[in-house]
Amino acid sequence: MIARLRAFGHFWYDFIVGDDWRVAVGVVCALGITYGVARTGVPAWWVMPAAVVLLVTGAIWTAVRRG
Protein backbone atom coordinates (compact mmCIF):
# COMPACT_ATOMS: atom_id res chain seq x y z
CA MET A 1 0.00 0.00 0.00
CA ILE A 2 2.77 2.42 0.99
CA ALA A 3 4.70 1.48 -2.16
CA ARG A 4 1.63 2.27 -4.26
CA LEU A 5 1.11 5.62 -2.52
CA ARG A 6 4.77 6.41 -3.05
CA ALA A 7 4.50 5.48 -6.74
CA PHE A 8 1.37 7.65 -7.04
CA GLY A 9 3.15 10.60 -5.41
CA HIS A 10 6.22 10.01 -7.55
CA PHE A 11 4.08 10.02 -10.72
CA TRP A 12 2.49 13.39 -9.90
CA TYR A 13 5.81 14.89 -8.81
CA ASP A 14 7.35 13.76 -12.09
CA PHE A 15 4.32 14.96 -14.07
CA ILE A 16 4.21 18.45 -12.59
CA VAL A 17 7.70 19.24 -11.31
CA GLY A 18 9.77 17.24 -13.83
CA ASP A 19 13.44 16.52 -13.54
CA ASP A 20 14.67 19.91 -12.27
CA TRP A 21 12.86 20.94 -9.09
CA ARG A 22 14.68 24.28 -9.00
CA VAL A 23 12.65 25.45 -12.01
CA ALA A 24 9.38 24.80 -10.15
CA VAL A 25 10.66 26.51 -6.98
CA GLY A 26 11.89 29.45 -9.09
CA VAL A 27 8.47 29.86 -10.71
CA VAL A 28 6.71 29.85 -7.33
CA CYS A 29 9.18 32.42 -5.92
CA ALA A 30 8.83 34.64 -9.02
CA LEU A 31 5.03 34.57 -8.70
CA GLY A 32 5.34 35.50 -5.02
CA ILE A 33 7.53 38.48 -5.96
CA THR A 34 5.07 39.44 -8.75
CA TYR A 35 2.20 39.43 -6.27
CA GLY A 36 4.22 41.43 -3.72
CA VAL A 37 5.26 44.06 -6.26
CA ALA A 38 1.73 44.30 -7.70
CA ARG A 39 0.31 44.92 -4.20
CA THR A 40 2.51 48.02 -3.85
CA GLY A 41 0.94 49.52 -6.99
CA VAL A 42 4.19 49.35 -8.98
CA PRO A 43 3.93 47.59 -12.40
CA ALA A 44 4.86 43.94 -11.84
CA TRP A 45 4.59 42.40 -15.33
CA TRP A 46 8.39 42.49 -15.84
CA VAL A 47 9.10 40.09 -12.95
CA MET A 48 8.05 36.92 -14.79
CA PRO A 49 10.00 37.59 -18.04
CA ALA A 50 13.10 38.37 -15.94
CA ALA A 51 12.55 35.19 -13.93
CA VAL A 52 12.12 33.10 -17.10
CA VAL A 53 15.41 34.42 -18.51
CA LEU A 54 17.20 33.58 -15.25
CA LEU A 55 15.54 30.17 -14.84
CA VAL A 56 16.16 28.99 -18.42
CA THR A 57 19.77 30.21 -18.34
CA GLY A 58 20.35 28.60 -14.93
CA ALA A 59 18.75 25.29 -15.92
CA ILE A 60 20.74 25.15 -19.18
CA TRP A 61 23.96 26.04 -17.38
CA THR A 62 23.40 23.31 -14.79
CA ALA A 63 22.66 20.73 -17.51
CA VAL A 64 25.72 21.70 -19.56
CA ARG A 65 28.03 21.55 -16.53
CA ARG A 66 26.64 18.13 -15.59
CA GLY A 67 27.34 16.99 -19.15
Binding site: G18, A44, W45
Partner: protein
Protein backbone atom coordinates in the same frame (compact mmCIF):
# COMPACT_ATOMS: atom_id res chain seq x y z
CA UNK B 1 -5.77 35.16 -28.29
CA UNK B 2 -7.77 34.32 -31.41
CA UNK B 3 -9.61 31.06 -31.96
CA UNK B 4 -7.06 30.11 -34.64
CA UNK B 5 -4.15 30.68 -32.24
CA UNK B 6 -5.88 28.65 -29.51
CA UNK B 7 -6.52 25.82 -31.98
CA UNK B 8 -2.95 25.87 -33.28
CA UNK B 9 -1.36 25.97 -29.81
CA UNK B 10 -3.43 23.03 -28.51
CA UNK B 11 -3.12 21.07 -31.78
CA UNK B 12 0.68 21.31 -31.86
CA UNK B 13 1.15 20.47 -28.17
CA UNK B 14 -1.23 17.52 -28.37
CA UNK B 15 0.25 16.24 -31.64
CA UNK B 16 3.67 15.95 -30.00
CA UNK B 17 2.22 13.89 -27.14
CA UNK B 18 0.18 11.79 -29.58
CA UNK B 19 3.30 10.93 -31.59
CA UNK B 20 4.91 9.53 -28.42
CA UNK B 21 1.83 7.52 -27.45
CA UNK B 22 1.45 6.18 -31.01
CA UNK B 23 5.08 5.00 -31.03
CA UNK B 24 4.48 3.00 -27.84
CA UNK B 25 1.23 1.43 -29.09
CA UNK B 26 2.83 0.57 -32.45
CA UNK B 27 5.77 -1.06 -30.65
CA UNK B 28 3.40 -3.13 -28.50
CA UNK B 29 1.21 -4.08 -31.47
CA UNK B 30 3.89 -5.00 -34.00
CA UNK B 31 6.19 -6.86 -31.59
CA UNK B 32 3.58 -8.60 -29.41
CA UNK B 33 -0.12 -8.73 -30.13
CA UNK B 34 -2.24 -6.11 -31.90
CA UNK B 35 -5.48 -7.14 -30.19
CA UNK B 36 -4.01 -6.75 -26.69
CA UNK B 37 -2.28 -3.48 -27.63
CA UNK B 38 -5.58 -2.06 -28.91
CA UNK B 39 -7.40 -3.30 -25.79
CA UNK B 40 -4.78 -1.43 -23.71
CA UNK B 41 -5.30 1.68 -25.86
CA UNK B 42 -9.07 1.45 -25.38
CA UNK B 43 -8.76 0.97 -21.61
CA UNK B 44 -6.36 3.94 -21.46
CA UNK B 45 -8.82 6.13 -23.38
CA UNK B 46 -11.62 5.12 -20.97
CA UNK B 47 -9.46 6.09 -17.95
CA UNK B 48 -8.62 9.41 -19.64
CA UNK B 49 -12.29 10.08 -20.37
CA UNK B 50 -13.11 9.52 -16.68
CA UNK B 51 -10.29 11.84 -15.56
CA UNK B 52 -11.40 14.53 -18.04
CA UNK B 53 -15.06 14.16 -17.00
CA UNK B 54 -14.01 14.64 -13.36
CA UNK B 55 -11.43 17.37 -13.91
CA UNK B 56 -13.25 19.35 -16.62
CA UNK B 57 -16.09 20.72 -14.48
CA UNK B 58 -13.69 21.18 -11.53
CA UNK B 59 -11.31 23.29 -13.63
CA UNK B 60 -14.22 25.29 -15.08
CA UNK B 61 -15.56 25.97 -11.56
CA UNK B 62 -12.32 27.60 -10.31
CA UNK B 63 -12.48 31.42 -10.39
CA UNK B 64 -10.50 32.79 -13.37
CA UNK B 65 -7.89 34.56 -11.21
CA UNK B 66 -7.03 31.43 -9.23
CA UNK B 67 -7.19 29.28 -12.36
CA UNK B 68 -4.75 31.53 -14.20
CA UNK B 69 -2.35 31.58 -11.24
CA UNK B 70 -2.27 27.82 -10.61
CA UNK B 71 -2.69 26.58 -14.16
CA UNK B 72 -0.40 29.27 -15.56
CA UNK B 73 2.29 28.29 -13.05
CA UNK B 74 2.01 24.60 -13.97
CA UNK B 75 2.02 25.40 -17.70
CA UNK B 76 5.07 27.59 -17.15
CA UNK B 77 6.91 24.79 -15.32
CA UNK B 78 5.96 22.38 -18.16
CA UNK B 79 7.06 24.94 -20.75
CA UNK B 80 10.39 25.64 -19.08
CA UNK B 81 11.17 21.91 -18.88
CA UNK B 82 10.27 21.44 -22.56
CA UNK B 83 12.26 24.52 -23.53
CA UNK B 84 15.33 23.44 -21.57
CA UNK B 85 15.35 20.03 -23.24
CA UNK B 86 14.63 21.54 -26.69
CA UNK B 87 17.51 24.02 -26.35
CA UNK B 88 19.89 21.27 -25.18
CA UNK B 89 18.82 19.03 -28.09
CA UNK B 90 19.09 21.77 -30.71
CA UNK B 91 22.57 22.73 -29.50
CA UNK B 92 23.93 19.16 -29.42
CA UNK B 93 24.10 18.77 -25.63
CA UNK B 94 21.33 16.18 -25.56
CA UNK B 95 20.50 13.44 -28.05
CA UNK B 96 17.66 14.32 -30.43
CA UNK B 97 14.32 12.67 -29.71
CA UNK B 98 14.38 9.80 -32.19
CA UNK B 99 11.08 7.92 -32.59
CA UNK B 100 12.82 5.21 -34.66
CA UNK B 101 15.27 4.57 -31.82
CA UNK B 102 12.54 4.66 -29.15
CA UNK B 103 10.47 2.26 -31.27
CA UNK B 104 13.41 -0.15 -31.62
CA UNK B 105 14.13 -0.02 -27.87
CA UNK B 106 10.46 -0.65 -26.98
CA UNK B 107 10.25 -3.53 -29.48
CA UNK B 108 13.44 -5.13 -28.10
CA UNK B 109 12.10 -4.85 -24.52
CA UNK B 110 8.71 -6.19 -25.56
CA UNK B 111 10.21 -9.17 -27.38
CA UNK B 112 12.23 -10.12 -24.29
CA UNK B 113 9.20 -10.08 -21.98
CA UNK B 114 7.38 -13.36 -21.33
CA UNK B 115 3.86 -13.87 -22.74
CA UNK B 116 1.19 -13.94 -20.07
CA UNK B 117 -2.59 -13.75 -20.49
CA UNK B 118 -4.87 -12.24 -17.83
CA UNK B 119 -8.43 -11.03 -17.40
CA UNK B 120 -9.51 -11.74 -20.99
CA UNK B 121 -6.38 -10.15 -22.43
CA UNK B 122 -4.21 -12.49 -24.51
CA UNK B 123 -0.96 -10.60 -23.93
CA UNK B 124 -0.81 -8.68 -20.65
CA UNK B 125 2.55 -7.03 -21.50
CA UNK B 126 1.24 -5.52 -24.76
CA UNK B 127 -1.91 -4.39 -22.93
CA UNK B 128 -0.09 -2.63 -20.06
CA UNK B 129 2.54 -1.08 -22.38
CA UNK B 130 -0.18 0.50 -24.55
CA UNK B 131 -2.31 1.42 -21.54
CA UNK B 132 0.53 3.24 -19.79
CA UNK B 133 1.62 5.02 -22.97
CA UNK B 134 -1.89 6.27 -23.71
CA UNK B 135 -2.66 7.33 -20.12
CA UNK B 136 0.66 9.08 -19.44
CA UNK B 137 0.83 10.99 -22.73
CA UNK B 138 -2.94 11.50 -22.75
CA UNK B 139 -2.91 13.17 -19.35
CA UNK B 140 -0.69 15.90 -20.75
CA UNK B 141 -2.99 16.26 -23.77
CA UNK B 142 -6.00 16.56 -21.45
CA UNK B 143 -4.25 19.05 -19.17
CA UNK B 144 -3.12 21.29 -22.04
CA UNK B 145 -6.55 21.24 -23.72
CA UNK B 146 -8.44 21.90 -20.47
CA UNK B 147 -6.16 24.70 -19.29
CA UNK B 148 -5.87 26.50 -22.61
CA UNK B 149 -9.61 26.12 -23.19
CA UNK B 150 -10.60 27.29 -19.70
CA UNK B 151 -8.32 30.32 -19.81
CA UNK B 152 -9.71 31.38 -23.17
CA UNK B 153 -13.32 30.45 -22.28
CA UNK B 154 -13.45 28.01 -25.18
CA UNK B 155 -12.98 24.46 -23.89
CA UNK B 156 -14.95 22.96 -26.84
CA UNK B 157 -12.55 24.44 -29.41
CA UNK B 158 -9.51 23.29 -27.39
CA UNK B 159 -11.05 19.83 -27.13
CA UNK B 160 -11.65 19.72 -30.90
CA UNK B 161 -8.01 20.73 -31.49
CA UNK B 162 -6.78 18.02 -29.08
CA UNK B 163 -8.99 15.32 -30.61
CA UNK B 164 -8.01 16.41 -34.14
CA UNK B 165 -4.32 16.12 -33.24
CA UNK B 166 -4.77 12.66 -31.75
CA UNK B 167 -6.93 11.46 -34.68
CA UNK B 168 -4.49 12.76 -37.32
CA UNK B 169 -1.40 11.31 -35.60
CA UNK B 170 -3.04 7.98 -34.71
CA UNK B 171 -4.53 7.74 -38.23
CA UNK B 172 -1.14 8.22 -39.85
CA UNK B 173 0.41 5.78 -37.37
CA UNK B 174 -2.18 3.09 -38.15
CA UNK B 175 -1.84 3.72 -41.92
CA UNK B 176 1.93 3.37 -42.02
CA UNK B 177 2.26 0.94 -39.07
CA UNK B 178 5.72 2.35 -38.42
CA UNK B 179 7.16 4.93 -36.00
CA UNK B 180 6.38 8.49 -37.03
CA UNK B 181 10.03 9.39 -37.49
CA UNK B 182 9.32 11.88 -40.28
CA UNK B 183 7.29 14.14 -38.01
CA UNK B 184 9.60 17.07 -37.18
CA UNK B 185 9.14 16.26 -33.50
CA UNK B 186 12.17 18.11 -32.17
CA UNK B 187 11.21 21.32 -33.95
CA UNK B 188 7.61 20.92 -32.75
CA UNK B 189 8.79 20.41 -29.18
CA UNK B 190 10.83 23.61 -29.44
CA UNK B 191 7.79 25.58 -30.67
CA UNK B 192 5.52 24.02 -28.02
CA UNK B 193 8.08 24.78 -25.28
CA UNK B 194 8.13 28.42 -26.38
CA UNK B 195 4.31 28.60 -26.49
CA UNK B 196 3.74 26.89 -23.12
CA UNK B 197 6.34 29.17 -21.52
CA UNK B 198 4.74 32.27 -23.08
CA UNK B 199 1.15 31.45 -22.18
CA UNK B 200 2.12 30.09 -18.76
CA UNK B 201 4.05 33.25 -17.95
CA UNK B 202 1.24 35.49 -19.19
CA UNK B 203 -1.55 33.74 -17.29
CA UNK B 204 0.35 33.11 -14.06
CA UNK B 205 1.47 36.77 -13.86
CA UNK B 206 -2.14 37.90 -14.43
CA UNK B 207 -3.24 35.48 -11.71
CA UNK B 208 -0.69 37.15 -9.40
CA UNK B 209 -2.35 40.54 -10.15
CA UNK B 210 0.21 41.84 -12.65
CA UNK B 211 -1.15 43.78 -15.63
CA UNK B 212 0.55 43.27 -18.96
CA UNK B 213 1.09 46.35 -21.14
CA UNK B 214 -1.51 46.09 -23.89
CA UNK B 215 -3.38 43.32 -22.05
CA UNK B 216 -3.88 40.21 -24.28
CA UNK B 217 -1.90 41.87 -27.09
CA UNK B 218 1.22 41.38 -24.93
CA UNK B 219 1.23 37.74 -26.08
CA UNK B 220 2.05 38.99 -29.58
CA UNK B 221 5.51 40.13 -28.44
CA UNK B 222 5.96 37.85 -25.45
CA UNK B 223 5.87 34.52 -27.34
CA UNK B 224 8.19 35.67 -30.19
CA UNK B 225 10.56 37.22 -27.62
CA UNK B 226 10.88 33.86 -25.83
CA UNK B 227 11.50 32.20 -29.21
CA UNK B 228 14.27 34.67 -30.06
CA UNK B 229 15.82 34.25 -26.60
CA UNK B 230 15.75 30.44 -26.93
CA UNK B 231 17.29 30.57 -30.43
CA UNK B 232 20.01 32.92 -29.16
CA UNK B 233 20.80 30.41 -26.39
CA UNK B 234 20.95 27.59 -28.96
CA UNK B 235 23.38 29.60 -31.14
CA UNK B 236 25.57 30.40 -28.11
CA UNK B 237 25.58 26.81 -26.87
CA UNK B 238 26.34 25.42 -30.35
CA UNK B 239 29.43 27.62 -30.53
CA UNK B 240 30.47 26.46 -27.06
CA UNK B 241 29.80 22.82 -28.00
CA UNK B 242 31.87 23.11 -31.20
CA UNK B 243 34.73 24.76 -29.31
CA UNK B 244 34.75 21.99 -26.69
CA UNK B 245 34.71 19.31 -29.43
CA UNK B 246 37.56 20.96 -31.37
CA UNK B 247 39.72 21.40 -28.25
CA UNK B 248 42.05 18.41 -27.66
Amino acid sequence: MTAAALFLAVFLACAVEAVEATTIVLAAGTSRDWRSALQGTGAGLVVLAIVIAALGPAVSAIPLGGLRLVVGAILLVFGLQWLRKAILRASGYKALHDEDEIFRAEVARAQDAAADGRAGVADWYAFTLSFKGVVLEGLEVAFIALTFGSNQHDVPLAAVAAVAAVVVVAGVGIAVRAPLARVPENAMKFVVGVMLTGFGMFWSAEGAHAHWPGSDAALLWLVPAIGVFALALVAMLRRLHDRVEVAP
